[in-house]
Amino acid sequence: MSALRRHIHPGWALVAPFLLLVAALYLGPILNILWLSVTDPEPGLGNYQKLFESDSLLRIFWTTIRICLITTVGSVFLGYSIAYAMVHCHEKQKSYMLTLLLVSFWISILVRTFSWLMLLGHRGLVNNALEGMGVIAEPIAFMRNELGVLIGMIHYMIPYAVLPLLVNMQSLDMRVMNASRNLGATGSQTFWRIYLPLTTPGIVASSLLIFILSLGFYVTPAVLGGGKVLMIAEYISVQLLVTLKWGTAAMLAGLMLFGVLAMLYIMSRFMKLSTVFGGSS
């Protein structure tokens, strides 16, 4: 008993209630979900088997991954441009840009999603204006399709792309870029051969972050997809609330959980590597 007391720091006694609370309220339900995926409606791997048998499930998986990939590429590309502009403009303009970025970061996802409907919807501002000017005869279908989902998701994700890239770019030594110019490299040569490789850790970090966040997107696809674009999160909610197939929902949730954990593992490997690369110049 005394030996035990010597090994366990008394501070743990203070933390223990909260640890137990977290375990009971967080780990418990997660384990329960995983348990459900192999027991409901009957014990076995039947739910996972469905993945290979059901065409619609496969289609949803494919749609989700496709939308997440396009969102990642789009928002990292735009975020890279914004971060680059922020790092290389004047201090004052930079703080304006950061403020605007954070404001859009803080606005509720619902508000941002519905604003897109008002702007780009069938009777939205843009279509009305274009029709009024006689540029188009029929409204352009921006919303209630995959394009709408992509516009909404990319817009929502841009701040998540900018912030890791901004940190990465700010840590670069600009003398290295000057050295490249001094050695005769043109602007684009310097970018492709020096700047881009040195910002790769930031690109990887923001890509993984956005891909993982996109996987769980629910509101934007539901509103801007108009029911035509079904992603996993929405499908899970349908299984839970409408068809009451908890086993299938639990299986999909479990797959997403492990997918995200696997990517986080890759990310942690990459971040360690990046400090090795960028540690000294």
């Binding site: 003398r175 290295v176 050295a179 110019r181 050695l183 490299a185 090795v276 690369f277 000294s280 110049s281």
Partner: protein, 334 residues
């Protein structure tokens, strides 16, 4: 072996000024730099030496005046077209590339054939004695080795002029002396014009063909290390390059180097002493001793003497006489 650009590399700086807003960083500098010369810009921080170098490199625009290479103006030529090699403060090596790729970068962006780049890089690796480190990344090298990679990278495309911005600043003192010798040796072998920026007067004295002493954006004095040390033009030059005592006399101010003074116990020297007074303090430095001396007239002087000559030791508080040779005290301008 390395072939120097023997017909190129003289640089003319004509009445160059640089303003940042209303602040004048460089003020009307005129300078003729000879081909193959080792020229040092020496000055305290804020003297404009780095700004001048950055204008020569093309990283900063000049506000007025002109810079010319071999008589042709290069003021409007962007940095990447000037073909000047440069060794940056902190080296600025490409951290994601191997030593070989760092050194070959200038040739590679000029789209030279692979075989030629390889041959040239091997030559440079040999010149800076880094043959065994070709496949390492800069992060795996010591400071001195990184410095040599930076030098090789800047020399690889045979620039007519090499600019060096405090290249030894990050090295410890012992290594610095070693690298100074290597730099001098490399300068001799490649014959490129070196323009070297430093605030370290010892570095400037031991390496340069000529030194430019700068203060507040203007040139104070230009000359060989010998000229500057023996005949400083003004108080700033005398005080910044080595140490000096300043003697106020009726006809002006004289600069007198501490090591040119001989000190003897009162009444024991030959001839008429130049000054008499009391020893305030003696600090022992091994090979030499620094004596703070207060004359009877109230002037404070520093006297450096070789320790071996102080065999019959002088003591603090003792009265003593000072002697120096005719011409040791130099009259300053203005």
């Amino acid at each position: 072996m390395f072939e120097a650009n023997s017909d190129k590399g003289s640089l003319q700086v004509r009445d160059v000024s640089k303003f940042f807003g209303t602040f004048c960083a460089v003020n009307g500098v005129d300078l003729e730099i000879q081909r193959g010369e080792f020229l040092t810009l020496l000055g305290p921080s804020g003297s404009g030496k780095t700004t001048l170098l950055m204008m020569i490199a093309g990283f900063l625009d000049i506000t007025s005046g002109d810079i010319a290479l071999d008589g042709t103006s290069i003021s409007g030529v962007p940095a990447e077209k000037r073909n000047f090699g440069m060794v940056f403060q902190g080296y600025a090596l490409f951290p994601h590339m191997t030593v070989r790729d760092n050194i070959g970068y200038a040739l590679s962006v000029r789209k030279r054939p692979e075989a030629e780049i390889r041959e040239k890089v091997d030559e440079m690796l040999d010149l800076v004695q880094l043959v065994d480190f070709a496949d390492r990344k800069p992060g795996q090298l010591s400071g001195g080795q990184q410095q040599r990679v930076a030098l090789a990278r800047a020399l690889c495309f045979e620039p007519p002029v090499l600019l060096l911005d405090e290249p030894l600043g990050a090295l410890d003192k012992k290594l610095r002396v070693e690298v100074q010798d290597q730099l001098k040796d490399i300068h001799k072998r490649v014959g490129t014009t070196f323009i070297y920026v430093t605030h370290d007067q010892e570095e400037a004295l031991s390496m340069s063909d000529r030194i430019v002493i700068m203060r507040d954006g203007a040139i104070e004095q230009v000359g060989t290390p010998y000229e500057l040390y023996e005949k400083p033009a003004n108080e700033f030059a005398a005080g910044f390059l080595g140490k000096s005592n300043f003697l106020q006399r009726a006809d002006g101010v004289y600069a007198l180097r501490p090591e040119k003074i001989d000190i003897r116990a009162s009444g024991t020297g030959e001839g008429e002493p130049r000054l008499s007074g009391t020893i305030q303090s003696i600090t022992y430095f091994g090979s030499m001793q620094r004596i703070m001396f207060l004359t009877n007239g109230g002037e404070e002087l520093e006297v450096d003497i070789d320790s071996w000559r102080n065999r019959d030791p002088l003591e603090e508080g003792q009265s003593a006489d000072l002697y120096w040779d005719k011409g040791a005290a130099v009259k300053l301008e203005g």
